[in-house]
Subunit: 144 residues, 2 copies
DNA sequence: TAAATATATTTGTCATACTAAATATTTGTA
DNA sequence: TACAAATATTTAGTATGACAAATATATTTA
């Protein structure tokens, strides 16, 4: 393959990832969700598996620990999640959603799914499969 | 298509874009380039088309104007670029590379292309075409 | 058991993304 | 021409991402 092409894919990839995030964020804002897209990712992960330590939650969300700490700080301030010290290992914290947090995830989930759907207009199941396969391959190629 | 799938693509897309950036950044750091990946994008755009206004440069790099202002500030401090007031429109600034900046882009370009290549191991020309087509379609679907 | 090592979290710093607002200048219009 | 609207850039504030270092606690090992 020609090198020239390759200098472009990273740009398109980056721009598209940004656009996906922007689109979701502006939908969130417009609908008054009062959370960021990244905060949503953390809330969703906590909803699906309660009682995660911050470390596990970070891995699950694809975020590093300092970033996660800060996002969780915000979720605490918003009353959506709680930190509980793990008495079996006092270095660790378990996180879980408050009732308000659970309600929020349950009520927003279908709307978020709708928002995410929009990206796939004019694309096929096969496109989706190719897309995820290629992304995973790239990820693994670079995951040294 | 099932909604459930769709909640995942944005995650994979985001993680892969991050990984591509991280891989490039750690290669840059390891090789002592002394610039960030985003600073590189701006330098490359300036190298390809000198005399861009900041506004045009921002569009070309896919960055917003405040972000670009700050990146350019850094490039000035590093002695790689210069701002020149456009006398025909004193609101505007033209940007161009210093000699040092030009040398930097010329010498790093082939190494950066190498770094970018790594992502495409085990993938085909057809994959590349599908990938860029799908990314562009998603971008346009969300570009309201 | 004491010291060294490992682990979970937090804090600090810098770079980037986005929004809104401020500033300077130009253009359009009454 | 004077004023309103538009444009280019910068500044400010908040959130996130990456990396290094600090802190507290656990585990391993001499």
């Amino acid at each position: 393959m020609l090198n020239e092409k390759f200098d472009r894919y990273s740009f398109i990839l980056d721009q598209t990832a940004k656009k996906v995030k922007q689109f979701a964020q502006s939908s969130f804002t417009e609908k008054g969700f009062d959370i960021t897209v990244d905060q949503w990712a953390v809330l969703k992960a906590l909803y699906e598996t309660e009682q995660l330590s911050q470390k596990d939650l970070a891995r699950r969300c694809g975020k590093d620990q300092p970033t996660l700490t800060r996002i969780v700080d915000i979720l605490l301030k918003k009353g959506l999640a709680e930190r509980v010290i793990d008495e079996t290992d006092r270095r660790s914290l378990y996180l879980h959603l408050t009732e308000e947090g659970k309600l929020k995830v349950a009520s927003l989930s279908p709307i978020v799914a709708e928002i995410r759907m929009k990206a796939w207009e004019k694309l096929t199941e096969k496109d989706f499969e190719d897309f995820t396969r290629i992304l995973n391959t790239i990820y693994n190629n670079l995951n040294v």
